[in-house]
Each structure stands twice: as C-alpha cells, then as structure tokens.
C-alpha cells in the first residue's frame, strides 16, 4: 500500500471544458479517502487521472514514491472498481478474478491461491464457475472487488461502486467495503455523489464543486463546520437551513425576530447567513420563538422531519418521533444548542464557526 499525492492537478478536455481547475490532495497510506460532489464536479476525472485513463493537462500525480505521469494504467499498480462493475462477460467469476494475475503472468499455483483467498474473504466461493450475468448486482460488485484485491495493488480506486445497487444492498455493501478496506489496510480513493455514503465510509472527505475543492476534512468536521455554503447545502439530509440574519446584541436575528446564538468574532450589524442543522431547531406548540405553519411532515420512525414555513423562509426541523404536530398547524420555532457556523452572503465562505 502507498500514499497518493495529487499536486496542482489541472485537466481540460480537448473540446475546451475544464473538468478540474486546480486540485491538490494528499491521500495517506491506508486511508479511505472520499471525493464527494455532484455530477460534473471533476471527481471522476480526478480519479481517472490517478488511474491513468485520462492524461492530466498539468500537475503531478505520485503513487508511493513514484511520479506516475506518462505511465500507462497497467504500470501504475493500482486497481479500480467501476460503477457498472465492468466484469468481463465472457469469463467466469473465477477467470474474472484471475484476470489481473494472468495478465502479469503469475504462476498458476499463485493464481489459484490468491483467487481462493479473495473468494473466501468475499464469500464468493459458491459462484466461482458462474458467468457474471448469472449473478445479482451485489455479487457482481463483490467479484469486482475481488478482482481489484487479488493483485495487492498500491491503491484502490472506486468509481461510484455502489450507485447501481438498490438501497438495502447498498448499506450492506457499504459496510463490507469499509470492513475490507480496514482488513487489508488499503489506501482507497472513493468517488461518490451520495453524502450518506461519504459520511459513513470516509476517513476524510473532499467536497468538490465545478472542478474546485470546496472543503477537505473528517466527516464530523465537514458536518459541523461546512467551509462554504455549497458544502453546507450538500452535506446532511435534510440539508442545513440557511437563514439570512443580522448580528445584534450577542445574537443573530433573522426575519420575524428569530434569534440564533451567535458564534464569536462577528461585528455588530454584520449581515450573515447562518447554517442551522435541522436538529438545531425545535418546534413547540406555542411559546418562545417565531410563529410558523407546518407545511409537511416526514415520519421516519425514529424521528420526524417537519417543514415549517416562517417569515424567514422554509425550515427543516428534526424532532423526536414523539413530537406530534399536524400539517397546517401553527407552531413556534426556535433555535437550540450551540452557535451555528455563519457565512458571508457574497463570498459564500464561512466567517465564523464555533
């Protein structure tokens, strides 16, 4: 295993579209590093540059001690798992997994041993003689993982590997990928557009937008303190409530006199956007807080999400399942808990956070 270094990567396609503006990443040895962003943000292009499937326009990529620019994908000693699995349809499961070893002309005894080991780890032993088309999506993705691990590569590149699975299977496979990565101590670069997946898997998350890095940090850091409004909108389900407010006496005051605890270091009279998580708001029948009307509710079992219309906009509020409010009911909303991060409305960057 090895670390992966991306230095000032820039990638423009011949038709003029710029996929990656400038990106520098340091991915540590044995780390599960998630690149998160909407489609077209440059995350997959970055991954393909690391793999050698795309050539970088400028910048440097290192895998371990080696600068890999100009090397063919096969010379970089990395493995990749694709969104559509890309299992060779004309080969059996066993031959699919043996493929990289056969490509390297390894002796047959070693091939047998490594494939058996991978099959055991991924519980694929009953399927070895089948063709990929006879397997379910989850099994196909496990074979793809197996094919990636038999070669003991320097790093694993995962291109949205779970996107094509149905929701239930996705959660299982997520756990399996994490478990596998830890057992192998593998360096893994994982690309996804699903923030839940990123939060659940990542040792660190890089949030990307329009070819730029928006934020880089551990999952909880990214969750509690999004660096930009884009990151604030992207992470969390439902996402943060972004409330326009003005700094008054030790408070942030939003339309309708909604009071939010102010973070430190703000000037009085300064206009900011407060990023309040749904759990940072609470709904009560009456009393303290601003008046609002329940627009909709999503009872999720363990908790209920209320959408409340106030003067300051639509708020998502996360409440325990015991909270019972009906649609169209008039309620009071107030902020609870620690001060939220505040953003500058023009630069869209965080100006103060707890």
């Amino acid at each position: 295993m090895a670390e992966v270094l991306v230095k000032k990567l820039h990638k423009a396609f011949p038709d003029g579209t710029v996929a990656v503006e400038e990106l520098s990443l340091e991915i540590n040895d044995g780390e599960l590093f998630v690149m998160l962003g909407p489609s077209g943000c440059g995350k997959t292009t970055t991954l393909r540059c690391i793999a050698g499937l795309e050539e970088e326009t400028s910048g440097e990529i290192r895998i371990g001690d080696e600068v890999v620019s100009g090397l063919r994908p096969s010379q970089r000693d990395i493995a990749m798992v694709f969104q559509f699995y890309a299992l060779y349809p004309h080969l059996s499961v066993k031959e699919n997994m043996a493929f990289p070893l056969r490509a390297a002309n390894r002796p047959e005894s070693e091939v047998e041993e490594r494939v058996a080991e991978a099959a055991r780890m991924l519980q694929l032993e009953p399927y070895l003689t089948r063709k990929p088309s006879k397997l379910s999506g989850g099994e196909q993705q496990r074979v793809a993982l197996g094919r990636a691990m038999v070669r003991h590569p320097k790093a694993f590149l995962m291109d949205e590997p779970l996107t094509n699975l149905d929701a239930e299977l996705r959660a299982d496979m997520r756990a399996e990928v994490k478990h596998l990565q830890q057992r192998l101590g593998a360096t893994m670069v994982y690309v996804t557009h699903d923030q839940t997946e990123a939060m659940a898997l990542g040792d660190r998350i890089a949030i990307m937008n329009k070819g730029n890095l928006e934020q880089l940090g551990a999952p909880m850091e990214v969750y509690n303190r999004p660096a930009t409004l884009f990151a604030a909108r992207f992470i969390g389900s439902p996402p943060m409530n972004l409330i326009e407010a003005e700094v008054t006496n030790g408070h942030l005051t939003a339309a309708g006199d909604l009071r939010i605890t102010a973070p430190e270091g703000l000037q009085r009279g300064q206009k900011v956007i407060a990023g309040v998580r749904p759990e940072g708001l609470t709904v009560s029948e009456s009393g303290e807080g601003v008046k609002g009307r329940v627009v909709s509710k999503e009872a999720l079992g363990d908790e209920t999400i209320f959408v409340v219309e106030c003067e300051a906009g639509l708020f998502h509020v996360r409440m325990p399942a015991t909270a019972r409010f009906e649609e169209e009911q008039v309620v009071a909303v107030r902020h609870v808990g620690a001060a939220p991060p505040a953003y500058d409305p023009t630069s869209e960057k965080v100006v103060s956070a707890p």
Binding site: A51, P73, S74, M80, F82, Q83, A86, F99
Partner: protein, 301 residues
Amino acid sequence: MATHIQPEGLADKGIAGETVDPPVRRERKFGSGVEILLLTIFMVVMLFPVIWMLETALKETKDIYAVPAKVFSFSPTLDHFQNVFSSDSPVFKGFVNSVIVAGFSTLIATVLGVPAAWAYSRFTLKAKKDQLFFILSTRFMPPVVVVIPVFLMFRDLSLLDTRLGLVLVYAAFNLPFTIWMMKGFIDEVPAEYEEAAMLDGFSRFEAFWRVTMPLLIPGIAATAVFALIFSWNEFVFSIFLITDPDTRTAPSAIAGLIGGTTIDWGLVAASAMTFAVPVLVFAFLVRKHLVAGVTLGAVRR
C-alpha cells in the same frame, strides 16, 4: 398477436393483461381469408421468375423451347448443373474467382474496418462526426458513376483483368459500411471493460484484443456477411474492369453466356441458381445477427 397463436375457444380467456375482443376476432377471420388470397397471388407473381428459372435449369434443352410451355410435364435432368461444374464450363472459373474476390475483399474490409470503428468509437478525434459522414458519403455514389475513373486508373496501374483489382475496389466499397456497422456494435460494448483490462495490466490494444474482441464476434460475423454478399453480387465493376474469361467473376461470366447465336438457357438458369445459393445460405445462418446488426448491437450491458 394472440389471435394467431391461440386455438379456438381459448382466446377469450386470455392471459392476464392480454385482452382479446371477440368481434374483432371474427372480422379478422373474414379479413384473413382475403388476405391469404391476395398474399398467394402476390407470392406467385413474385416467385414465378424464380420458379421458372429453376424449372428451366432442370428441363432438358428440347423441353425449354417447347411450345406450349411444359410447366409440370417434363422429365427433370441435372445435366445443366453438371455442365456448370464441368472443367471446360465457362462459368465454373467464374465461381472460383468470385469466391476468391469476395473472400479477400471481405477479409481486407474487416481487418481494416474493425480497428477503425474501434478508434472512432473510443477516442475523441477532431471533427469525428464530419469524418464519419465523409466515410459514409463514399457510399452515396452509385458504382456506375465511378467506374470510368477507376477503369482509367486501373489501366495505368495495369490492374485491369486482375482479381487483385476487383478485390481492392470491393474492399474500398465495403470499408465504409464495415466501419459504420462495427461502430454501432462497439458503441454497445461499455468502454469500462477495456479500462478495467488496462488497469489489470494490459496495454490499450491488448485490452481491446482480449476483452472487447470476443464480445464483438457476432457483430463481426454479421458485418462480414453483408460485405460478402455485396462482393458476391456486384456486377458493374466486374463487367467493366474484367474481360478476360480466366479472371472474371461469376456475375459477368453468367452474363457472358447470353449473346452469340445460340444461347444455352439451361446452363444460364443452372448457373444463376447455383450463384444464388451461397448468399441465401449465409443470410439464413446469420439472420438473427443481421437484424440485430441493422437495428442495434447484439451485446447487452
């Protein structure tokens, strides 16, 4: 289309979701009587020349000229077919030449066309659409239009009256078609297969050869048969570029039988029948792929 396959009485019960309306059924039954009659007439009209030719091929020479024509009451003979394959027959060499020319031109078109189609499918190229349109446009022109320039060029290159010349012309005509049809098939094979193989330790070309190629075999077969049929049937170039009886292909050899004072119609008919058989057999063998090839690729994701 349950009306056609379900036996009487079962239709009304139908399979779930498949409702069959009884009045419509009765109308169709009446209609189908007329339909069958019309189709029968149509079939007789269309197939009459073929049947007549087959009969001519099987009749003795005196029966061919019999007036009134003997439609059923003749004694069949295989003499004419025997003449087709005899060593001194003027058409037998034509068949051999046709096999050589069609085979080699198809081979060349396939060997050049498949990698070209792969490149057009996988790589970003400047003005790719324009290039592809240009390639296709070479097929817009009828062969008759270009035959004279080709004739002049071939005269200078002394390729007239050679099989090589015809092979080159047919390969050139089949290449655009091969590229277009194979591009459709290759587009259907996800590029991820090759990318996976490249990461697994192969070069770009090895990845194509080991992973994409095996998946393309049905497509290549279908495309090659189309090319083969074109080369086999081609007449205009053959008759213009080759006059030597030793190197001309079957179509012009058969055409050469007509003319002169006496025409051996039995031999003409037998040669034509023999000529038609390989194409029919090939088309029948790959009919599934032909349909798949014309509509979409045969490989599913």
